[in-house]
Amino acid sequence: MSHSRASRSNIALRALSFVALFAIAIPWYWRWLGDLAYHRVVGVPAWFAVAVVASIGISINAAWQLGGSWASDIDEAEQEASQ
């Protein structure tokens, strides 16, 4: 697999991880789960609790992806350019 193809599939996987998390976060599927949606989780309806937990997942995923190597790459490029 070429470098660019690997990079493209990596970007696609990253994008898909967000699509999956938003799909869990947005409560479109709860209507098929009956009264489970209204069970209380720490005092709030389960569907809202899952929306919040999935949102935490999105934040963690974003923070993790932001922790990639791009920052050091750019800084190195800047240093090289300034030299």
């Binding site: 938003f22 309806p45 929306a51 919040v52 999105i58 934040s59 923070a63 932001l66 800084d75």
Partner: protein, 504 residues
């Protein structure tokens, strides 16, 4: 239902005055810290800002007074379904992932100051740059007006004085404070005052959560009351709202990330690591901000049922009044909360003002108008023009805010994201796709903006649950992509030959 706070006493008023005075002092310190009179120093603080300053200026710029009042009010009206606000604020950071690293690299290499400097570099087409500037300025100008009106309304609810005079005083005095410290210190002053404002805002949200939990008991109790009295606010959203939920995530995610003032903060980061660390923290801030606004709205709906739509936007004030009445501690808690409200409004207003000033000065005046006045303007002359323009704009908007007292601009504000998303092909797609060409991008943008405004004007602000701006973006994107495939630019703009977004 009394939706006004108990008027602040001399101690609390002194606290607010000290806070406002400290902003002017920061402006003066920032003025002394300037390196030169260049546009880059005035609009981006020269070599840039560090982690804490960048984080807090991004935070206080992204979260306005609307987060406190608008989001608690919306939760009051529709209940738990307003959890959409947590998702759309998080989606802004997700969208940053798609373009901030690449844009930052180019900004540092080519010394960008305004957002459309990137478009100049990428496409080299003055028409595309000019239209983009106009769309951005149009989208955020009424946002600035709304912040000025919110300042007046905030002070109006605080004194025993005649409401009209209190409103006028609030608009004029706070606008004057903003324009003074901004003219003195430019971006440096705005970012430093944002540090105070962001801190007060963050502390305010945490105190607000503690206060409502203490005052009204557990969230379980509020949920049970809500289920018993207004079950619709507890239950799952309808199918139409689910579509709007998806739409919000896309429209606010793309539009919020393309706020010109936010793009300039990406440029202003001292290093890529600074930007990286700030965005990593920003990813979690919806949980400490919008989630708290939703919880407070739920407490409000459970404990103060029966407010009209207009009254529901003041639910935060209703809650605060009760906290104020309980004890001296509650009273001072509300003083800090009110300072947080002021901080949220002012920090958004100052950032928007500076951003508009920079775009008018550099993208419109310096490129298209200055040749009629002088042959070769110096950086100092342009900087002075920017400062003068800030004053003229502020005076105009203050007059408008005074005349519009009592009116709501909520619908206009909703449309700003519909307009800003039309910029996403030009800013985001073009970073990743070298073949994208200028003319189709320009035509797509113009058609997208026209579609968005046309649909909204015809009463179709949402089409089967989806925002008009999103529908328009589909047309815009199809023209930009299809046109670029059919008629690519001969030279692919003025870029070097590396993939633009290789740093991502």
């Amino acid at each position: 239902m009394n939706d006004r706070l108990i008027p602040f006493g001399p101690g609390a008023q002194a606290f607010i005055l000290v806070y406002l005075f400290s902003l002017i002092v920061i402006g003066a310190v920032a003025y002394r810290a300037r390196r030169d009179s260049s546009l880059k120093d005035f609009y981006l603080a020269g070599k840039g800002i560090g982690f804490v300053t960048l984080l807090l200026t991004l935070y206080s710029t992204q979260y306005s007074g609307n987060t406190l009042f608008g989001f608690t009010g919306a939760t009051y009206r529709i209940g738990y379904s307003w959890a959409v606000c947590i998702h759309f604020m998080t989606s802004i950071v997700v969208v940053y992932l798609a373009f901030a690293p690449g844009l930052y690299r180019l900004a540092k290499q080519h010394h960008f100051i305004t957002p459309v400097d990137y478009l100049d570099y990428r496409f080299g087409d003055w028409r595309l740059s000019l239209v983009s500037s106009i769309v951005m300025i149009g989208a955020i100008s009424n946002y600035l007006l709304a912040q000025l009106m919110a300042m007046g309304s905030a002070l109006e609810g605080l004194t025993d004085a005649d409401p009209v005079r209190a409103y006028r005083a609030g608009v004029v005095v706070l606008a004057l404070v903003i324009v003074v410290y901004e003219s003195l210190g430019g971006f440096r002053a705005v970012a430093w005052t944002d540090v105070i404002q962001g801190t007060v805002l963050g502390v305010g949200f945490v105190l607000l959560l503690c206060a409502v939990c203490y005052e009204y008991g557990s969230i379980q109790k509020a949920s049970e009351t809500l289920l018993a009295n207004e079950p619709a606010k507890f239950k799952l959203p309808e199918a139409d709202w689910i579509r709007t939920w998806f739409s919000y995530v896309l429209v606010v995610g793309l539009g919020g990330a393309l706020y010109p003032q936010s793009i300039q903060r990406i440029y202003a980061a001292k290093s890529a690591k600074t930007l990286q660390r700030s965005l990593r923290v920003m990813a979690f801030l919806p949980l400490t901000t919008t989630l708290i606004a939703v919880i407070v709205g739920i407490y409000g709906a459970a404990n103060f049922p029966g407010l009209t739509r207009q009254q529901s936007d003041t639910i935060l004030t209703v809650v605060c009044r009760q906290i104020q009445q309980e004890s001296l501690l509650g009273y001072w808690l509300v003083v800090v909360l009110f300072s947080a409200v002021l901080a949220a409004i002012m920090s958004t207003a100052d950032s928007v003002l500076l951003s508009i000033s920079s775009m008018v000065t550099k993208d419109i005046y310096a490129k298209h108008c200055v040749r009629y006045f002088t042959k070769d303007p110096t950086q100092t002359q342009l900087t002075w023009f920017g400062k003068a323009f800030s004053w003229v704009l502020m005076v105009s908007l203050v007059i408008a805010a005074l005349r519009l007292r009592g009116r709501t601009l909520v619908e206009l504000l909703d449309y700003k994201f519909d307009l800003l998303v039309q910029l996403s092909p030009a800013f985001i797609l073009s970073l990743h796709w070298r073949r994208m060409s200028s003319m189709p991008t320009l035509i797509g943008m113009v058609v997208g903006v026209a579609c968005s405004i046309g649909l909204a004007a015809a009463g179709f602000g949402k089409v089967v649950g989806f925002h008009a701006g999103l529908i328009a973006l589909l047309v815009n994107g199809a023209i930009a992509v299809g046109g670029s495939l059919i008629m690519p630019d001969a030279q692919h703009g003025t870029c070097d030959q590396r993939p633009l977004a290789d740093a991502t």
